[in-house]
Symmetry: C3
Subunit: 428 residues, 3 copies
C-alpha cells in the first residue's frame, strides 16, 4: 500500500459523501454507511430500535425529510431544502401553512457576523421547526404572508451505526471512532470517516500486536448507544483510542487529551506531535466536544484522545456552509493520516524492555560498538548504550527516548534488534 | 442570624475583655471564660491542678497579682500595675525593697526602637522579677534609691481552660482553638476568642455534617494540657482545625499552613483565600508561633492551620501596648468572620462525588441544558458538564473547581442538585 | 589523623605510581596494587583467570610488553615505549618488520588539534597494532622504510584486582570503587586510588555505622568481573557508593548522579555540594563513562554516583600525555578528600528521627531555650524547635535541613544531643 497517496483517496471519498443528507437517524446515515462498507468490506451495520433505553438516554424516532421550503409574498421559493440540506433545522417537526414575516422570523436562524453563510443548527430533543439561512438574505425579507412547508415524518425506526474489527495478535484493542450524523460538512464530519477508511486500508495490510475496532456512530446518542451495548468489552480490552474528527484542513495540528490527561494515548500522542508537529496546539479536556465526552466519562473512563487539524469550534467556517470541500484538502488529509500512522505505530512499538543479564553487554563483539577506545565517541553507540542503561523493566521506550532526547520511533527497531540478540526481553 | 453584623458584636466583646488582667493561670483567665460562657452557654470550664504532668511539661502554680509599682527617688509612683497590666513582667516573683537605679535597671524591659510603647514580656518558667516600660521613660530615670514593691503570690491552684462542643451529623470534628492568656492585647489575643464566639453563634444555628469543638486555653501549656487529656479522641476525630489568633485588624490576610502543608485544611483555606483574598500572604510553617506548634507536632499531627489578618510577630504593634483597641476594628473582625465562614462551609461541602451511570446524562430533559445545538455554548451548562466529567470518585469539588477555574463554593449547590436528581452519589 | 595534610600524601602516592606501565592485565597492575597494599595493609589481591566468563564478557589474556619502537629511514628511534608508555596502542599485537611510511601511517594515532600531545588509545577487544605520537611529529615523517618492533606477549594468565574491607557496626555497606588500568595518567586514573588510600586512613581510625568496601579494578572488564563474583552480596548490602575518578585537579567540582538520579547517594551528594561547592556542575547519567556504567546497570542497580573535579572527557588534557603530574595538585586532591569526607559523614549521620512524646518538649528546663519570652527569638532555639517539629519518623535530617535552610551537618550533632536527652529516637 502506498502511504503517500492516501490524501487524494480520502478527498474523493469526502466528495462522494458530501451531498448525502445525514442526520441522527434515517436513510442518510444508511447511505453513508453503505459507501463506507465498499471501502471497508467487513463493516457491520447495526440498527438500534427507536425507544431503546441507553443509560440516561432514549433512541429517538427516525426523521425523514421529503421536502421543505419557504415561498415569499411574491411567490418566490426563497429557502429550499433541495438546494442545501443545511437550510432545514435538524429534526424539525412538520409544518404547513401561511404565516406573517413576524411569526416566520421566530423560526429563522442566521449568523449576523457571518452574513453570507448558512448555519448548521439542530433541535434533536425538543420539538421545534425552523430554517437556517444567510443573515444577508434574512435582512431583506419584506413584510407579508409566507407559505411554509416542512414535509417531514417521524416514525418508529432505528438508529444506525457501523462497526469493523481487525483482529491482532493480542487481546488488547485500539478504538477508533468517528461520527456520521452531520449533513454537508467537510472538515467537521466527513474528514473523520475518510481517515478511518484510509487507516483501515493501512492496518489491514499488516500483522499487528493490537486488534483495531472502527466505530461509525451518530454523535452523542450513537456513541452512548454503542457504549451501552459494549461497555464491559470496551472497558476490558481498550488499550487506547482516538475520536477522529476535523482532520481535513491543512491549517493547524491540534491535540485534545483524554480526560485523565496522562494515559498512554496522551503520552504517545504528545511524543509524536512534539517531533512531527512541533508547533501543535494542545487543548484541555475542558475544550472537548465530540464522542470523547462519552468514552472518557467517569463510568466508561477509556484512554481516548483526539488529534485534529483545525479543532471544531475554533475556526470561522465551523458549523456553517463554509465548512465545505474548499476548506479541506488532500494535503491536509494526508498529513493527518501520517500523524495517526506514527501514533499507532508507536502504540504498537512502545514496549517496556528489560536487560537479560547484569552489567553492560559487550556490543563490540556483535559489531555494534567501536573496538577502538579513543577521545570522542560514536553517537549511535551512545544511543545503544543509553537504551540498554534504561531498559530496566520500568521505563518504556518513550520514557527512554525523552530522557535521551531522540524520537521514540528511532528506538523501536534498535530495541527489536537487541531483542533478537537476546540482550533484551519484553516486560508486560 | 445576621452574618453582616458580627463585626460590631465581636468588637464590643473585645472591648469588654480588654481590661481583664490575664496570665497563664488565675482569676483573670476565669473572669475571661466567665464572659465567654455568657456568649457560648454550653462552654464548660475545666481546671487542671498545679503540678499535673502533661507530657514533658508540668502545670505551674497559680500567680496572683495584688499590686506592683516603682517609686522614684522623688517619691513619685512612676510605674504602676494598676495603670497597665503590661507593666509587670508576667509571672514575676515577689519583691519588696529599696534599690539603686543601677540594680533596678537589670530588671527593666523596654524597646529602644519603639520608645513610647510598653513591651509585653513574660518569664513563666524561670524565677525573675521585672517591670516593662516605655524606653523614653526609662532613659529619664535619675540615679538614686527606688522603692519597688511586687505584691504577688504563687500558690497551688490550677490552670483553667474552656471547651464547648456543637454536635453534627457525623463523628468527624472541626477543631477551633484560641488562647486566653495575654493581658491587654487586642489583635494578638482577644480577637481570637471574639471570633470563636461569633462562629459559635453562626454554627449553632444550622445543621452540620461535622461536629465542632471550641477550645479556649492558655497558650502552649494550656494547649499541651488540653491535648494530654484528649489525645486519642483528637487524633481519631479531627478532620481539620484552625488556631484563631490575630484576626482583628484590617490591614492584611495571612495564611499559616499546617506542618504537613498539604492537608485538607490547607487545600480548603488556600482555595478560599485565592478567590476571596487574592493578595493574601502565605507564610511557612517555619513562621509558626501559636498552638499549631502543639496540634501539629509529630506525636499529635493534626491538620491545623491559621488564617490571620496581620500575623503575630510581623506588625510593629505586636506584643506592645499599641496592640490595643485602636489597632483592630469591626471591619477587620467582620472580614475574618466571613473568610472563616467560607472555609468552614467549604470543609462541609467539599465532597467526593461519583456519577451514577456511564456516559453523560441527558441534562436537556431536566431543563439543565440548551435544547438547541448551535455555535457558542452556555457557560452554565459547560460548568454542569465539567463537574459531571470529573465527578469520578477521585476528585473532590475543589479539585474540580481548580481544574475548571471557578470557586468551589459555586459547585457545592450544583453538586447537591445533581445528587437530588440521582445523577451523582457521594463517595466516602 | 590530620585531615588537612592528606593532599600532600596523596600527591606523593600519585608521583610514585605514575611511571608504572599499567593496562587491563599484567604486572603493571600487580605492581600498582603492591604499592597500594603498603598504604592499605588489609588489601586483598585477587586473580581472575583468562577465559573466565563474566556475564556477557570473557577475561582476556594477559598482555606483557617487553619493548616497542619505530626506527626511521635515517636509523633514528623516533618512537620508543621506554620513553612513554602511552606510545604503544594498548593491547597491541606483536609486529616485527620493515614497512613503508604509507603502511605505517595506518597504524598511527595522533591528535591534529592538540599536535604536541600523545593520545592514549587502546584496542582491547580487536587485534590491532599501533603507535600513538604527537601530531607535529607525525607530520614530519618522511617517506621511506621504517623498522617497527612490537615485542609483546599474550598469554593465559589472569585479571588482577584488589579489595579491602572496613567492618562497621551494621550490615550495610558503602562501596568505594576506582580503577587501576590506565598507564601514565594522573587525573584520569591515579587520583582515584590515591583518594581511596586517604579515605581508608581516615575511615579506619574511627567507629562507623556502615562497613566500607574499597575496590580497585581494571575499568569495565574488571568491574564486571568483580560484580559477577559478588552480585548477590553487593545487591543485598550496598547502601550507597561512589566511583572515584578525576579527583586530582583544582579547576572544578563535578557531580555525576546515579542512574536513577534520586537515590540516597544523590541526595547526600547534592546537599553537601550545594553547601560546600555551590558552583558545582551537575552532569546527567547520560554523561557517564566509568564503572558506574556497570554498578548502575539495570541488573545490578546500585546507588552509585561520582563526585569529580574536572570530569573525564571534558578537559583538553583528558586521555593525553598532558594529564600528568602538572595537571593535578595537592590542593585539588585535598579538596576532593574533604568533600568525600563530608558526604560519608552525612551518609552516616543522616538518620530518620522521631520525637518520643506528643507536643513540643520543654527545652527551657534543659537550658536549650530562652526562659524569657519577648519580641524576637533565638536563631539557635528556632533550629532546635524546627528539627523537633519535623522529626516525625518520615523526614531524614537532609529533608529537615533543606526545609529550614541549613546544612544538614549542623543538624547531626543537635539530633544526637536530643537523642541522648531522650527527646528523639531513631527510626529504621
Amino acid at each position: 500500500m502506498n502511504k503517500t497517496s492516501q490524501g487524494n483517496m480520502m478527498f474523493k471519498l469526502v466528495q462522494e459523501l458530501f451531498p448525502v443528507c445525514r442526520s441522527l437517524t434515517g436513510d442518510g446515515v444508511r447511505r453513508t454507511l453503505g459507501v463506507l462498507k465498499r471501502e471497508i468490506p467487513s463493516l457491520a451495520i447495526n440498527e438500534v430500535p427507536s425507544g431503546t433505553e441507553c443509560f440516561d438516554w432514549t433512541v429517538p424516532d427516525e426523521w425523514e425529510v421529503r421536502d421543505a421550503w419557504v415561498i415569499d409574498p411574491d411567490g418566490e421559493k426563497i429557502v429550499d431544502f433541495n438546494k442545501s440540506n443545511l437550510h432545514l433545522l435538524g429534526y424539525s417537526i412538520p409544518f404547513d401553512g401561511e404565516i406573517t414575516l413576524e411569526e416566520l422570523d421566530t423560526h429563522l436562524y442566521s449568523l449576523p457576523e457571518q452574513p453570507d453563510l448558512i448555519p448548521y443548527v439542530t433541535s434533536y430533543y425538543a420539538p421545534r421547526w425552523g430554517f437556517c439561512l444567510p443573515h444577508s438574505q434574512r435582512e431583506k425579507l419584506r413584510p407579508g404572508l409566507y407559505r411554509v412547508k416542512i414535509d417531514v415524518e417521524f416514525s418508529k425506526g432505528s438508529l444506525t451505526y457501523g462497526e469493523a474489527f481487525l483482529p491482532g495478535e493480542g487481546e488488547k484493542e485500539i478504538l477508533l471512532s468517528t461520527y456520521i450524523c452531520h449533513p454537508s460538512m467537510a472538515n467537521d464530519n466527513l474528514s473523520g470517516p475518510a481517515l478511518m477508511a484510509a487507516l483501515w486500508r493501512w492496518l489491514s495490510a499488516e500483522k499487528r500486536r493490537f486488534s483495531y475496532r472502527f466505530v461509525f456512530v451518530p454523535e452523542t446518542i450513537g456513541a452512548i448507544a454503542y457504549i451501552s451495548q459494549n461497555l464491559e468489552e470496551l472497558r476490558k480490552k481498550t488499550y487506547a483510542g482516538y475520536v477522529l474528527t476535523c482532520v481535513g484542513d491543512n491549517n493547524a495540528v491540534s491535540f485534545l487529551p483524554s480526560r485523565r490527561g496522562d494515559t498512554v494515548v496522551d503520552k504517545v500522542s504528545r511524543h509524536v506531535l512534539r517531533h512531527r508537529a512541533p508547533g501543535f496546539k494542545e487543548y484541555s479536556f475542558l475544550d472537548r466536544g465530540s464522542d470523547e465526552r462519552q468514552y472518557c466519562s467517569p463510568g466508561v473512563d477509556l484512554p481516548v484522545a483526539s488529534i485534529m487539524r483545525s479543532k471544531y469550534g475554533t475556526y470561522p467556517e465551523y458549523h456553517t456552509s463554509a465548512d465545505n470541500l474548499d476548506f479541506i484538502s488532500p494535503e491536509g488529509l494526508q498529513g493527518s493520516f501520517e500523524i495517526y500512522c506514527k501514533c499507532l505505530d508507536l502504540l504498537e512499538g512502545n514496549r517496556v524492555y528489560r536487560t537479560t543479564f547484569p552489567c553492560e553487554p559487550q556490543l563490540g563483539k556483535r559489531g555494534l560498538y567501536p573496538t577502538l577506545s579513543q577521545k570522542g565517541s560514536s553517537d549511535e553507540a551512545r544511543i545503544y548504550m543509553n537504551l540498554l542503561a534504561y531498559a530496566d523493566g520500568e521505563n518504556d521506550l518513550i520514557d527512554i527516548a525523552e530522557r535521551i532526547g531522540v524520537p521514540a520511533e528511532e528506538l523501536v527497531p534498535i530495541a527489536e534488534k537487541f531483542l533478537s540478540h537476546g540482550l533484551l526481553e519484553i516486560c508486560e
